[in-house]
């Protein structure tokens, strides 16, 4: 008897710890992970909030084919080891039908081969590393993995397109963080800018994470007197670069990327952020209801403005939901539906299709005006926005 009681207790505990087992058996489970705590907590929370908003919309609208959607949320703490464990849990224990990554390249990249092997579709919100959708060991695409954000090269090329064609910049300096994303985006930028006939005066890399004092870099840039400075970094570094450039009396136009696209950037940079232009994945001034409703609902729910990370994660979730609506809950069928995506009306732009898992959609150019990101231009030149195939 005693033994049975103990077993019962253990079983009870077990049930308690399995998320959602107590709920409706027939809910459709979707996995989600993001760096909810740790160094990228601001982005992780943003992704989580946005996806939860999407979940509420789907379930309030009757779910998928009459079934509720259940979101299994994990915190990867920006730690790849953690992400591997999460991927295995999602497949084996939670038995989800598809996964949304609301995380950075590091954690997303290590989960991609696991999901690929298990035949589990994953849509990554904004992770930029090429190896998310590509298997470098077998030299073939991970055909179960899809990406809603741009490849670093594509976003960099789009920023260069804007710098040279719209800003008419002939003399450009590049400063970038030394990580996968920084290297990819600044290489894409430099290649396109030079192809269009502009000169790259200086290319500098700073240590990431850790660098806080950009004055030595910026002083060197100032000496070359460029018209545009292309800067790659996340919101902390971005804010420091922008502030310190202003302090040093640098008047060149600063052009950033999606790493700048955070309320934290605007807060830390303060008035120095005014006029900064970025290439990103969200157009706040897009009149389509999908955009304006999301921005309004997000503000209402969290009392904070939505950012690129949130919007991209929301999109990733909705793209997956859309595929499940079309194809049902069989992972293979979901993958097929994702491969057939055509002219999807996404929050972060109209997705024409996926090429080897990479999204094809216009790149947004935004400018900080009155302490907010506003629309400045859209880069839709197919030569620039079509991801390179391997």
């Amino acid at each position: 008897m005693r033994r049975l009681g103990l077993m019962g207790m253990v079983c009870g505990l077990f049930l308690f710890f399995i998320p959602g087992t107590g709920q409706a058996q027939d809910a459709i489970k979707i996995g989600f992970f993001a760096p909810i705590t740790g160094p990228a907590a601001a982005d992780g929370m943003s992704a989580k909030h946005a996806v939860e908003l999407g979940l509420k919309e789907v379930n309030d609208g009757g779910g998928i084919r009459g079934k509720k959607v259940e979101l299994i949320i994990y915190d990867d703490r920006l730690n790849p080891q953690e992400a591997v464990a999460i991927a295995n849990k999602l497949i084996e224990r939670d038995k989800v039908v598809g996964v949304v990554s609301g995380s950075y390249s590091g954690p997303t990249r290590v989960t991609a081969p696991i999901f690929q092997k298990a035949g589990m579709p994953m849509v990554a919100g904004y992770a930029v590393h090429p190896d998310v959708t590509w298997d470098p060991t077998q030299k073939k695409p991970n055909d179960f993995i899809f990406r809603n954000g741009y490849l670093g090269e594509v976003e960099g090329a789009a920023a260069a397109e804007f710098a040279v064609k719209n800003l008419k910049a002939k003399r450009i300096s590049v400063i970038s963080m030394d990580n996968d994303f920084g290297r990819a985006i600044s290489a894409g930028f430099a290649e396109r800018a030079e192809k269009l006939g502009s000169a790259i005066l200086t290319k500098q890399m700073y240590k990431f994470p850790g660098e806080k004092d950009f004055r030595p870099f910026l002083t060197r840039i100032k000496e070359g007197n460029p018209e545009v400075i292309f800067a790659a970094g996340y919101y902390n570094e971005a804010a420091s670069i922008v502030r310190q450039a202003k302090e040093l009396g640098i008047t060149a136009q600063i052009l950033g990327e999606e790493g700048f696209d955070s309320p934290k950037f605007l807060e830390i940079a303060g008035p120095a952020a005014e006029g900064v232009i970025i290439a990103t994945n969200l157009d706040r001034d897009d009149p389509r209801p999908v955009v304006q409703n999301f921005l309004a609902n997000y503000r209402k729910a969290y009392n904070e403005d939505a950012d690129m990370v949130g919007a991209s994660s929301y999109d990733a979730f909705m793209i997956l939901v859309d595929a499940i609506k079309k194809a049902g809950t069989d992972p293979k069928a979901i993958q097929k539906a994702l491969l057939e995506t055509k002219d999807y009306n996404g929050l972060t732009g109209k997705i024409s299709r996926f090429v080897q898992g990479e999204v094809v959609k216009p790149v947004q150019i935004q400018v900080v005006k009155g302490g907010k990101f506003r629309r400045l231009a859209v880069i839709d030149n197919p030569e620039v926005i079509t991801p390179p195939t391997k």
């Binding site: 290319k203 500098q204 030595p216 060197r220």
Partner: protein
């Protein structure tokens, strides 16, 4: 490759600007490292948690700035907060451990440092806080050379603190006792000097300077964050070795040398070289060729 051509190297203004950048960051290194070298000089222990005191100074300064709204008041509070913390660390952490082998206070120090970082994260959150203080000094521009307001602030505060420290050490009886203790605590004690009190004063002064450095970096970078002490924790050790352990003028010189070399490596030679490696390469060279430090005597 990330080397660019060096045709932009010639600018004269740029050299002055880089000099200002280098001296500014070097001054902050000096304020952090002085406390460390003074503690080593008197107790012969490596006070790793000193970098935690530096971050604490930044947090206290930030918090009091939020309360009072005046930068100079927040600087004083940051220094005072760090000084109190330094005193408590000496009294309750090191003092009971001093009779043990030197590894014991070192381990305690590392433990305290990690605990402090976690405490900042739990109390003030993992996010970066902005220390957006109006200082009221203004910039100094000569042609295209510009000494920014925060650089002027750093130079001013550092020079004042160094003059006060030097006067204190050379012109007062307590300062004399401190220097005597650093040479030989036991003999000094036999002359009727209360060594315990001297050690406490030593910690209070060193920690107040670290607190000032924390506040200065807070406004210089406009950022205060939980792990802001982690790089200074080891860089200051390298600087202290470079200056000759326990040598106060040597530490100031070493700090400026490290600040300037970092800046010139990045900004003039444009070598894509990790900034934080400079201090360590210098330290290794010094240990190989001048183990008594830059200004020390063989």
């Amino acid at each position: 490759m990330w080397f660019d051509d060096c045709s932009l190297l010639t600018g004269f203004n740029m050299l002055w600007q880089q000099l200002a950048n280098g001296i500014a960051i070097g001054s902050v290194y000096a304020l952090i490292s002085l406390g460390l070298t003074m503690v080593y000089g008197i107790l012969r222990i490596l006070h790793v948690a000193h970098a935690g005191i530096y971050a604490l100074g930044a947090y206290v300064g930030w918090f009091s700035f939020r309360l009072v709204g005046d930068f100079w008041v927040s600087l004083l509070f940051g220094m005072a907060g760090a000084a109190v913390a330094g005193y408590l660390v000496e009294r309750f952490l090191y003092s009971p451990l001093l009779h043990l082998p030197r590894i014991a206070p070192l381990i305690a120090s590392i433990g305290l440092f990690i605990a402090l970082e976690e405490a900042f994260r739990i109390v003030a959150g993992p996010h970066t806080l902005t220390y957006n203080a109006r200082i009221g000094l203004g910039d100094l521009s000569i042609g295209s050379f510009k000494l920014t307001e925060t650089q002027i602030l750093i130079l001013l505060v550092t020079v004042v603190i160094l003059i006060v420290l030097w006067t204190f050490l050379t012109r007062t009886r307590i300062g004399l006792a401190m220097r005597a203790c650093a040479m030989d605590a036991e003999t000094t004690s036999s002359f009727g000097v209360n060594v315990g009190r001297i050690i406490a004063i030593n910690f209070i002064l060193g920690s107040a300077m670290a607190g000032a450095a924390g506040v200065l970096i807070g406004v210089y970078d406009n950022q205060v964050w939980p792990t802001m002490g982690s790089i200074p924790a080891y860089k200051a050790l390298a600087i202290v070795v470079l200056g000759g352990l326990g040598n106060i003028p040597g530490t100031v010189v070493a700090s400026i040398v490290v600040g300037l070399s970092e800046t010139f490596f990045i900004g003039v030679l444009a070598i894509p070289f990790p900034r934080d490696a400079v201090a360590f390469i210098a330290m290794i060279l010094v240990l190989m060729f001048r183990p008594y430090g830059l200004l020390g005597k063989a």
